[in-house]
């Protein structure tokens, strides 16, 4: 197993330290696994492989099992994402209000499909089930901003804002 010092730069180990403090205050070690993965993803934008090994040592769960947990939950990513994350809602209300057409317009416009990142790394496209603003269906979210009542036209205009 590689040593901690080999794996991380100084500022990175600072981030890790924060997890550790969180970890020590709990009496069940294993229940820290998901919060640890969540904070790792917050710091890096995805979960780098080296982190899996590191967390494995902290919580005493084999890396393979951690990998199993990561791939089970839709939230976790093993690859870095683009600068802007587009989440297009595929929930029921959006489906009924034509999210299929909106999605195809979005894919045409970006040239990528769900789960992919554009070549220049500006956009990543993900789908989610219900963003909780069904009254504005169809809806998408770019980073933390929601855009509702979408049409193909509106998508073009919105994306232009983020391209510059």
């Amino acid at each position: 197993m590689p040593q901690e010092a080999d794996l991380f730069t100084r500022s990175e180990s600072q981030d890790i330290l924060n997890f550790k403090i969180d970890l020590l205050s709990r009496h069940h070690k294993s229940d820290s696994l998901i919060p640890l993965l969540q904070s790792a993803q917050d710091s890096y934008g995805y979960i780098p492989e080296k982190i899996i090994y590191y967390i494995s040592e902290l919580v005493g769960i084999p890396p393979a099992e951690i990998y199993g947990v990561i791939t089970f939950y839709a939230q976790f990513r093993l690859k870095p994402l683009g600068k802007n994350i587009i989440k297009i809602c595929q929930g029921t209300a959006c489906h009924v209000n034509g999210s299929k057409n909106v999605l195809s317009a979005l894919q045409d416009e970006l040239g990528i499909s769900i789960g992919e990142t554009t070549e220049e790394g500006i956009f990543s496209l993900e789908s989610v089930a219900c963003l909780g603003c069904c009254s504005l269906a169809p809806v998408m979210m770019i980073n933390n901003e929601t855009f509702g009542n979408l049409t193909s036209e509106k998508i073009k205009l919105t994306l232009r804002k983020f391209r510059t």
């Binding site: 069940h28 696994l33 919060p35 089970f72 029921t92 489906h95 089930a129 269906a137």
Partner: protein
């Protein structure tokens, strides 16, 4: 005090509520006006967002569809010159454009949503907040709490409808040094936002409900398992928790009693099956969220093997109200076996989408037409989908059906957690069933073979039907598979996944048959089965459709009737969307 309240739930924010809020702040400051500007949760009328309520000398004025541009006029005409702008008001003493939307509702769970500032514990307290826990700690035994809840007839609002009092009694009777209490805020139904709105609009009511439950069963540690896609709800919960700690409402020896409770928030990580109680507990423990066989039930062996009660957000929000108003009052609402009220997230092809709370026993037609205002663009009401991916479609012909756990189950759907999607004639029922099955198929945890592979095979059949490749025997095969998936799955996900297919087969079988035998989609929604045609009399030759066609299938000269070359047409429908004259039809 003169107050200006801006509705800032996720819905309000999405519609631009923050910008309106900031504009008010700026204008009030620059004009040097003394009003208290505050945030509030979802007022329910999501279709009228952004909503702003002015509370002036005991009179309230509710403005709808407020934009940044309207703020200036509201301030100068109404606040400074006392001339309310009637055209923009939805509700005030003199005007009410939304009578039915509000009159048919009863507010128990949503009693404070859209009224108080959710980030202020003092506002919650001023609405009798934390009076129920005080009453319980000073004069109720745990047994008495359980009796009250049992007699109220409250049933779990998370979908299953299990009697809450009975669940608490079972956990109370277990002997253990440690017990846990969990609030299920995973709300995974794609098209439902009741729990989110309650957590965003009135987090303290949920915490108070949890405290009472913990006292009743004897737990001193609690968890709220919240969906990660709900950052605002989580933020407001965090604020509420720390306010409770500061006021001695959580922690050791609450309000001087010997009852102690700590509550922690656990963020989910995006898996629908984690809404299922045993999977949820595995997830809290840090594992893959895979359900377990019951019994043992969570009340016997739950989190870390200890007795645990798990209830839904809405269930908890009912509790303080029941304690303060008495079980009789709660039990006086509703039907024989379904008491109280239910919150629904009304969405789809309906005029007024939003969050509504109606008494149990109300009919579907009353919800669709009176509360919801009818179908968008006055199209034909076709069905409601209730219960999300585990639920089913109830046709418009059964609109007089009462909202009641048993009545709904009898149709093949389930009450579910409160998603109510209204659909009109343009939604294809086969496609709709496929939509839900696609969802559950992807979300199956993979433990049970039939749930994992059976749903996949069912999905393939639905796919070929909607693509025009359905064949004789497909429907029988679907039904056979559906029943097998139902009876050989361990948890509710697999047991209910076929419901959307079975209910549409039951009520809309002819639509499936038209797809298979006539290769047509009656709703003109399945793209492979639609043919586009230009109506010569209406086409003015504007070339918009030609420009929109990606495959060069539409041709023609300017000012001449255009033509579609069916050998090149890929049926994408772009020409149909592009035409402004309605000169292209689907057949």
């Amino acid at each position: 005090m003169k107050k200006i309240k801006v509705g800032l739930g996720t819905c309000g924010i999405s519609a631009g509520g923050k910008l309106v809020f900031d504009k008010f702040k700026e204008e009030l400051y620059s004009k040097n006006l003394d009003y208290q500007l505050c945030e509030t949760g979802c007022m329910g009328m999501c279709y009228e967002e952004v909503l702003v309520e002015l509370e002036l000398d005991n009179e309230s004025f509710l403005y709808s569809k407020v934009t940044v541009d309207k703020v200036g006029r509201i301030i100068s005409e109404h606040l400074q010159n006392n001339h309310p702008i009637d055209d923009w008001l939805v509700k005030s003493k003199g005007v009410s454009r939304q009578d039915d939307f509000l009159n048919k509702q009863t507010r128990v769970v949503l009693r404070n949503c859209g009224i108080i500032d959710p980030s202020s514990i003092d506002e919650y307290i001023s609405e009798n907040g934390y009076e129920a826990i005080k009453k319980v700690l000073s004069s109720y035994s745990p047994q008495k709490v359980i009796d009250e809840v049992t007699k109220s007839g409250l049933r779990g609002r998370g979908g299953g409808g299990f009697p809450t009092g009975l669940k608490w009694k079972l956990a109370h009777n277990e002997i253990s040094d440690t017990k846990y209490i969990i609030c299920n805020a995973d709300e995974g139904d794609p098209g439902a936002f009741m729990d989110r709105s309650v957590l965003e609009g009135d987090p303290h009511s949920v915490l108070e409900g949890m405290m009472i439950a913990a006292y009743a069963i004897g737990a001193s540690e609690g968890f709220i398992y919240a969906r990660a896609e709900y950052p605002l709800a989580i933020k407001r919960l965090r604020t509420a928790l720390s306010q409770c700690m500061a006021k001695g409402l959580l922690g050791k020896n609450i309000l001087g009693s010997d009852f102690s409770l700590n509550i922690k928030i656990k963020e989910g990580a995006g898996a629908f099956v984690c809404g299922e109680e045993t999977a949820l507990m595995s997830s809290i423990e840090g594992k893959r969220g895979v359900p377990k066989l019951r019994p043992p039930f969570p009340t016997q062996k739950g989190l870390w093997g200890k007795p645990t009660t798990i209830n839904n957000v809405e269930t908890y929000a009912n509790i303080p109200w029941i304690i303060l108003n008495g079980y009789e009052k709660f039990a006086s609402m509703g039907t024989e076996k379904s008491k109280g009220s239910k919150v629904f997230a009304l969405a789809g092809k309906i005029k007024r989408t939003g969050l509504v709370e109606v008494p149990m026993g109300i009919t579907i037609n009353e919800i669709v037409y009176d509360v919801g205002g009818g179908i968008k663009k006055d199209k034909k009401f076709k069905a409601v989908q209730i219960g999300g991916p585990s639920g089913g479609c109830i046709p418009a012909s059964m609109g007089e059906l009462k909202i009641d756990y048993e009545e709904i189950t009898r149709t093949g759907a389930i009450m579910g957690s409160g998603g109510l999607i209204v659909i009109d004639e343009t939604t294809c029922m086969v496609d709709f069933a496929k939509f839900f099955l696609n969802f559950t198929q992807k979300e199956s945890c993979g433990k049970c073979t039939f749930c994992r592979i059976g749903t996949k095979r069912m999905l393939e059949i639905l796919e070929r039907i909607t693509e025009g490749n359905g064949k004789q025997g497909d429907l029988e095969l679907l039904e056979d598979l559906a029943l097998k998936v139902k009876c050989s799955s361990l948890c509710g996900l697999g047991q209910t996944a076929p419901n959307p297919v079975l209910t549409t087969l039951k009520y809309f079988r002819d639509e499936y048959e038209t797809h298979i035998f006539q290769k047509k989609c009656p709703a003109h929604s399945c793209s492979s089965l639609v043919t586009y045609r230009i109506i010569d009399e209406l086409c003015k030759g504007c070339t918009l459709c030609i420009k929109s066609c990606p495959s060069g299938a539409v041709t023609g000269r300017k000012k001449e009737v255009h033509k579609i070359n069916y050998d090149l047409c890929i049926k994408c429908g772009k020409c149909y969307d592009a035409c402004r004259l309605g000169a292209i039809e689907k057949i």
